[in-house]
């Protein structure tokens, strides 16, 4: 029995791997042929957002931490990359926006971002560390559920106002533009670099998916679910949920950071707007739409929702908010498991109900036919 089960598992694994690889190849080689540059650019950006969604799913879908502050880490990653690009552009001078505010020498925290390797590490590690610290402060005090959510939102406001207010340090509201900056002597805004970033995004997305899959399967994954379902019980089994949550939150932060960097370069720069309250909540709804606790769902949700937003706001700009609001309501009330969850669990039954087709009940005319009963009899016979 064990063996058959594990075989089944293996088959499912290989199947999943196959699908993922197929999708990657599709995104890398087919999508560019089907889409105009503009649409491809959009797709690239949405894929970057799908990466954040994976992080959100990891902490919310699996671990039950509804963070309304992922924007912080998203933006941190973006800023890290943008700062490097700005320095690239400035050469041995300092980025010219400083001139407007009479800043003559580079603020200390810009220094490390001269080097690309450091930047690339910082993009992931910096948000990760920040998330870890914030997480530690919160989880250590067993601040849970909605309190956690509200607190993360407060943190978001703090960061937003700080970045927004500091013209002299990071150009405040304007944020940092990247399109005209240079990377490897190429203009970041150029179609070619944009395509490179698109490719990079696809790859990072795949890697992130792998990471999350690895985290959520096996014992660690089960532990996350246990934390989500009954954290206190876990304590009495000798686990310290706080540390696990800190780790997961930090990982999600890092993921968000990477996503932020990729998103920034594909949307011509970063502004504190990335830390707006609304944006961070939207991240959650992507996951909710796709189906929480299903990684595929997170990605799907991010793509579907954003694509819908792009199209709808092109067709009738005024009413996009209506749609978005309705989406929130629908997902929560009608589709709590999200698209994927719905297909997996209820789709058939509900459609049948809707069409009023009665499912045939499989009752046993004779108790003897009940498989459980049979098995028990066999056991008794064995004894």
């Amino acid at each position: 029995m064990i063996t058959t089960k594990s075989v089944g598992k293996k088959r499912r694994r290989t199947l999943e791997a196959g699908i993922v690889i197929g999708l990657i190849l599709f995104l890398l080689f087919i999508a560019p042929l089907l889409l105009t540059d503009f649409r491809l650019g959009l797709l690239g950006r949405f894929l970057a957002l799908a990466i954040v969604a994976l992080g959100v799913d990891l902490i919310w879908g699996y671990t039950g931490l509804l963070s309304l502050g992922q924007g912080i880490f998203f933006a941190l990653g973006g800023y890290a990359f943008a700062m490097h690009l700005q320095l690239n552009l400035a050469g041995d001078g300092i980025p010219e926006f400083f001139g407007l505010y009479g800043v003559s020498e580079l603020p200390w925290f810009w220094q490390p971002f001269y080097s690309l390797p450091v930047t690339l590490i910082a993009i992931v590690v910096l948000p990760g560390i920040v998330a870890g610290l914030l997480g530690y402060l919160v989880f250590r005090n067993r601040i849970r559920g909605v309190y956690f959510s509200i607190l993360t939102q407060a943190m978001l406001v703090v960061f937003f106002n700080f970045f927004n207010g500091q013209q002299k340090l990071i150009n405040g509201t304007n944020g940092l533009t990247t399109d005209t900056t240079l990377l490897f002597g190429q203009q970041v805004g150029s179609d070619r670099m944009q395509f490179v970033f698109y490719v990079a995004t696809v790859i990072v997305l795949a890697l992130t998916y792998g990471l999350c899959r690895w985290l959520t399967r096996g014992r660690f994954g089960r532990l996350l679910i246990a934390i989500r379902d009954d954290e206190n019980r876990l304590r009495f089994s000798g686990y310290n949920p706080a540390m696990f949550k800190v780790l997961v939150f930090a990982v999600a932060g890092g993921i968000a950071g990477a996503a932020g960097a990729l998103y920034t370069v594909q949307s011509s720069g970063i502004t504190p707007q990335y830390m707006s309250v609304a944006f961070s909540i939207e991240m959650v709804i992507w996951v909710a739409v796709g189906g929480r606790a299903t990684l595929g769902g997170a990605v799907l949700g991010a793509l579907v929702v954003n694509w819908a937003q792009a199209l709808l706001s092109e067709q009738f700009p005024e009413v996009w908010l209506f749609f978005q609001g309705a989406l929130f309501l629908l997902v929560v009330t009608v589709l709590p498991k999200g698209i994927v969850g719905w297909f997996r669990d209820d789709a058939v039954r509900q459609i049948r109900d809707l069409l009023g087709i009665q499912p045939q009940l499989n009752t046993y005319p004779d108790l003897e036919l009940d498989p459980d009963v049979k098995r028990e009899q066999r056991e008794l016979a064995g004894k």
Partner: protein, 439 residues
């Protein structure tokens, strides 16, 4: 280090080329030569877009939702009115103008995204749009990278002169500086600077501080409100503390915060007699939403007020009211928006095509008898226009208390700020370009 970079570059480059060959194969418009030569392609596509078909597509990119919708929708009205008039008069190059409207949603990223859509997807031949400097700064790289054309109708902080943007709003020397001068002459030398926490107020106030230094005024304090914040008690306390017996308040608050500011200023018993406020973001439209009661006696600096007396203005105001209803008012950004559509159409007529470069060339020196007086487009992409100071009346309109005799030439690079002192901008001469040292 460099070797690593080069290797990485090769890797990336190869993928890019590899696929871009595929793209070529099926007629994709991706750019294989890569990098900075994007412009060539941008022109080609847009030119064909403009020429092809029996209409000329123009993009309108403003916030139709979100915080900024309050102001930006009025500008859209003005632009649509102008286009309607032009179409009624037979259009441009004998073609009707077709509007593609996009919502920036008060979100700077959306602006960038929609700008790309207008250029790549809809292949418009020009974009009219943006209000906040932040949104302009966000789309600027898009227009530069794709070498396209944006017309921008709002007064701003200057310190910018893009080849791809035409600015029909006031440069600092066409609004802020005259206002400061006027205040120094008539109202006092102690200034308190209040602004929203974003780029225009911050930069504007930097300029003002420099200017005051140069002209013997003093900045006794400054403070910034987060956008949308309505709790201004601390600021008012600061003003009281800094100016115990009255002084000038220079206000570059934006949107909602203005309402809170003036209501609570009056609440604190600080009237225009002791604390005259000079605003640079408050026009007729805003006066109505704040309520004249609170604003009566305060000042604003603009190039245009609805109360300007000229036949052009009377005609425009009546046309506008006829189009959008008698309860509507006209204001400076709307006038600028109205102007820019006409200037563009004239330039297209002159160029004989919608080719970006040609239109740009043709735009220089275009003049138009605007409601606020005749304006001229300069080679530095800004327009010369008259500057006026208005005092707010009971009825929410302005008494024009001072106006320059003739149009003021725009100076994008500010002469009071150390970094930009002595710089100028001239796109008509390739040798000079966006920022060159004046002889």
């Amino acid at each position: 280090m460099t070797r690593i970079n080069r290797r990485k570059f090769l890797v990336y480059g190869s993928t890019a080329v590899g696929t871009s060959i595929l793209l070529k194969a099926c007629g994709g418009t991706s750019d294989t030569t890569g990098g900075t030569t994007a412009p060539a392609e941008g022109e080609a596509t847009t030119a064909s877009a403009g020429g092809g078909g029996d209409t000329i597509k123009v993009g309108i990119l403003h916030s139709l939702s979100g915080t900024m919708a309050i102001s930006e929708t009025t500008v859209v009205d003005a632009e649509e009115l102008a286009i309607k008039e032009i179409n009624a008069a037979g259009g441009v190059l004998g073609k009707q103008i077709e509007i593609v409207k996009e919502d920036g949603a008060s979100d700077w990223d959306t602006f960038a995204e929609k700008a790309e859509k207008l250029i790549d997807q809809d292949q418009v031949s020009v974009v009219f749009g943006c209000w906040t400097s932040a949104s302009r700064k966000k789309v600027l790289p898009v227009f530069e990278a794709k070498d396209h054309m944006l017309w921008y109708p709002v007064q701003y902080e200057g310190q910018e002169c893009s080849k791809n943007i035409f600015y029909t709003g006031a440069a600092p020397n066409q609004q802020i500086e005259p206002a400061v001068d006027w205040l120094l002459e008539n109202k006092g030398k102690d200034f308190f600077l209040v602004g929203s926490d974003y780029v225009f107020p911050r930069t504007a106030n930097n300029i003002i501080k420099e200017q005051l230094k140069a002209k013997g005024g003093t900045t006794v304090g400054e403070d910034y409100l987060p956008l949308g914040n309505t709790e201004v008690t601390p600021i008012i306390t600061k003003i009281k503390a800094a100016l115990p017996d009255g002084g000038v308040i220079f206000n570059s608050l934006n949107g909602d915060s203005n309402v809170a500011f003036f209501k609570q200023l009056k609440g604190a018993g600080m009237g225009p007699d002791k604390y005259p406020v000079m605003s640079v973001s408050i026009a007729e439209e805003e006066v109505r939403t704040i309520g004249p009661d609170f604003l009566k006696g305060h000042y604003a600096a603009w190039n245009y007020f609805q109360t300007v007396e000229s036949p052009e203005n009377e005609k425009w105001v009546s046309d506008f009211k006829a189009e959008y209803g008698d309860d509507r008012v006209t204001n400076d950004p709307m006038e600028a928006a109205y102007i820019m559509v006409y200037l563009w159409s004239q330039a297209v007529e002159k160029a004989g095509s919608t080719d970006i470069a040609a239109v740009r060339e043709a735009a220089y020196g275009q003049t138009f008898d605007a409601p606020g007086g005749t304006v001229t487009m300069n080679p530095n992409h800004h327009i010369s226009k008259i500057v006026r100071i208005g005092e707010i009346r009971e009825d929410g309109l302005f008494d024009i208390v001072s106006a320059t005799d003739g149009p003021v030439t725009p100076i994008p690079w500010n002469q009071f700020v150390e970094d930009t002192k002595g710089y100028a901008c001239d796109w008509s001469d390739p040798a000079k370009g966006g920022k060159y040292k004046e002889a």
